[in-house]
């Protein structure tokens, strides 16, 4: 009986006009497009510089800023008013003003007396972008000043040379961090939502009634429905990993076995959730809407796009009920840090906990006999 049901599901899946194409396209989007789009590094900060000092030193400072790679320099010799006007119209992110007396300040032998004649003005409409732009500029200016200060007292100041060592992602590459997270999102979409829509469409067509009147066990029917989606999920995970290696040279540091186990656990959770939705929906529209509602919550509160640590406490509490949180956390630990199941077992325990809850509910609420 199982053989025939699985065969049916595969045939229907492959004959669907959109599905196979979507499955083939998804890994490419995930690896080749989305990591660039979800990049949160602040680059290309637009900068206008106002030079009131007109000295060699001020030119050197401006050159240093321009060559740092963080900025897109719009103007190096703007009038203060036009610089402000540019910022008012949102054309520039930051203004660096070097005041008259900058070179004198550097040559001042008293060293560090009075305030530095440099002004930094940052557009903080986007707070993150603004504060990071400010930090970049600050780093440039203080670096320049400490290198060029002729004062003896400054030289006498003990210099701290702090050099960080970055673990797990030494080049602070955002793409490397996002790829495991994006794989999680893809699996969620594929395995949570599509089986739900599949079952609801059988309800709409009336074919599920024909099945309900046969002696097929409900668990068998549901399990067979899942088989193609499990296959698809593994296809996507491994194509993504392969593409990430071929295109960016990233390889998974942890065990593939752990990835297989976590993927299966996540499918279990999402599929039973999808089934639950389909049990309570009469038509596709209804199911789509419910799924859309939950998918927004699942994605935004998963820690894939924004760190859970910086959420307020109440939001953190909500994330504990989100299966994506655990899957994303585990996938990142496995992919980036080389963890296995032993190190990430709390994630697995939580996933399986949520999964057994939703699965029980889903199977109980699916009724062959009304």
């Amino acid at each position: 009986m199982w053989k025939y049901l699985v065969k049916k599901e595969f045939k229907q899946f492959l004959r669907d006009p959109g599905m196979p194409g979507m499955v083939l396209m998804f890994p490419f989007l995930i690896i080749l497009v989305f990591p660039f789009a979800t990049n949160m590094e602040i680059r290309n900060v637009r900068l206008v510089m106002v030079d009131n000092d007109h000295s060699d030193r001020s030119h050197l400072l401006m050159e240093k800023c321009a060559s740092s790679g963080w900025f897109e320099v719009l103007d190096v010799n703007a009038a203060p008013e036009s610089a402000q006007a540019l910022m008012d119209r949102g054309r520039t992110d930051a203004i660096l003003t070097i005041d008259n007396g900058f070179s004198q300040y550097l040559e001042d032998t008293r060293g560090g007396g009075g305030s530095v004649p440099v002004g930094i003005k940052v557009n903080t409409v986007n707070g993150t972008r603004g504060s990071i732009a400010g930090q970049y500029l600050n780093t440039c200016v203080t670096g320049f000043i400490s290198d060029n200060m002729v004062s003896s007292s400054a030289a006498a100041m003990p210099g701290f040379d702090v050099s960080g060592s970055y673990r797990f992602n030494p080049y602070l590459d955002y793409k490397l961090y996002m790829i495991p997270g994006l794989i999680v999102i893809a699996i969620t979409m594929m395995c949570g939502f599509l089986p739900a829509l599949n079952i609801v469409s059988e309800k709409e067509k009336g074919t599920i009634e024909q099945i309900n009147v046969t002696p097929v066990k409900k668990t068998a029917f549901i399990a067979c429905k899942m088989v193609p989606y499990v296959a698809v999920a593994y296809f996507m995970v491994f194509t993504c990993l392969l593409l990430a290696y071929l295109v960016f040279g990233y390889s998974c540091r942890g065990s593939y076995f752990a990835i297989i186990v976590y993927t299966l656990a996540h499918i279990l959770v999402m599929a039973s959730f999808g089934l639950l939705v389909s049990n309570f929906s009469e038509n596709t529209q209804q199911a789509m809407f419910v799924i859309w509602f939950f998918s927004m919550i699942f994605m935004l509160m998963s820690g894939v796009f924004t760190p859970i640590e910086s959420m307020p406490q109440w939001a953190k509490t909500i994330t504990y009920a989100n299966p994506l949180r655990y899957f994303a956390d585990a996938m990142r630990a496995i992919f980036l840090k080389g963890c296995g199941i032993r190190e990430t077992w709390p994630d697995l325990a939580c996933l399986l906990g949520i999964g057994s809850l939703t699965m029980t509910w889903a199977v109980l609420s699916y009724k062959k006999t009304a």
Partner: protein, 246 residues
């Protein structure tokens, strides 16, 4: 004594305060063609769904193919065939694939399925349609096919819920020949319909009004009892009386 394949006593089905099936009792013998008539909303489909194990009765008892409608729904499902009002084979599977799927579900093996498919397609003269997608078939063919698939596991009883809705008279005629054929082999046929000419083809007919069985008997008996020339007249009197009594 004649063997009874369906025995129903005091069957009631309520949805909230609405009583869809109101205390009905009847029996159907093996090999009989039993017509289940009634106006829209009279409770035919609800009663039929209970007999098929798709719905639980609120009260009352009965057996279908020897199994209780209250507790043995899954056993009932092994022994019946069902063809619903809404055409429900898989449109994105081919004809032979639908046979394979439903044959497989009822526990036939590959060889049995192949033999069944061949013989049934031959009987329907649809051998050339074997590789056709079901969605591409004309409605009349689909209905014949759905009936065959409901019969793929040689059930004792087959339930047909308005099987000929929207089909032209010639195809309907043709379809009824298939039904006769099945009944002659000892299969009990339980059929709901709105076509009174079809009611004439049945061995016995029951007419439901507002959840109750108002009349039960052979078409000839009913015509005599209600003084009507045909089943159309019988139906109009009974269903009309029900409507007037509301």
């Amino acid at each position: 004594m004649e063997e009874k394949t369906v025995m129903i006593r005091n069957l009631v089905k309520k949805f909230g305060s609405f009583t869809a099936v109101d205390n009905i009792s009847f029996e159907v013998s093996r090999g009989e063609i039993f017509g289940f008539l009634g106006a829209n909303g009279a409770g035919k489909t609800t009663a039929m769904r209970i007999l098929c194990g798709l719905s639980k009765p609120t009260s009352g008892e009965g057996t279908v193919a020897g199994f209780s409608i209250n507790s043995e729904q899954e056993q009932i499902k092994r022994h019946i065939g069902y063809m619903s009002q809404k055409f429900s084979l898989y449109p994105d599977l081919k004809v032979w694939e639908n046979f394979e799927l439903f044959g497989g579900i009822y526990g036939l093996n590959d060889k049995e399925i192949r033999i069944k498919t061949d013989s049934m397609l031959k009987a329907l003269s649809l051998e050339d349609a074997r590789n056709m997608y079901v969605r591409d078939m004309p409605l009349g063919w689909k209905q014949k096919l759905a009936f065959s698939i409901a019969m793929v596991h040689d059930p004792e009883i087959v339930f047909l819920d308005e099987p000929t809705g929207g089909v032209d008279p010639v195809t309907r005629r043709n379809f009824w020949e298939t039904i006769y054929d099945a009944a002659s082999k000892g299969v009990t046929v339980f059929v709901t319909t709105h076509y009174m000419d079809e009611a004439e083809y049945c061995d016995r007919v029951s007419i439901m009004v507002d959840g109750r069985i108002e009349a039960l008997g052979s078409p000839a008996e009913l015509k005599e009892a209600y003084g009507a020339a045909d089943m159309d007249g019988v139906f109009t009197r009974i269903a009309g009386r029900g409507a007037a009594g509301q």
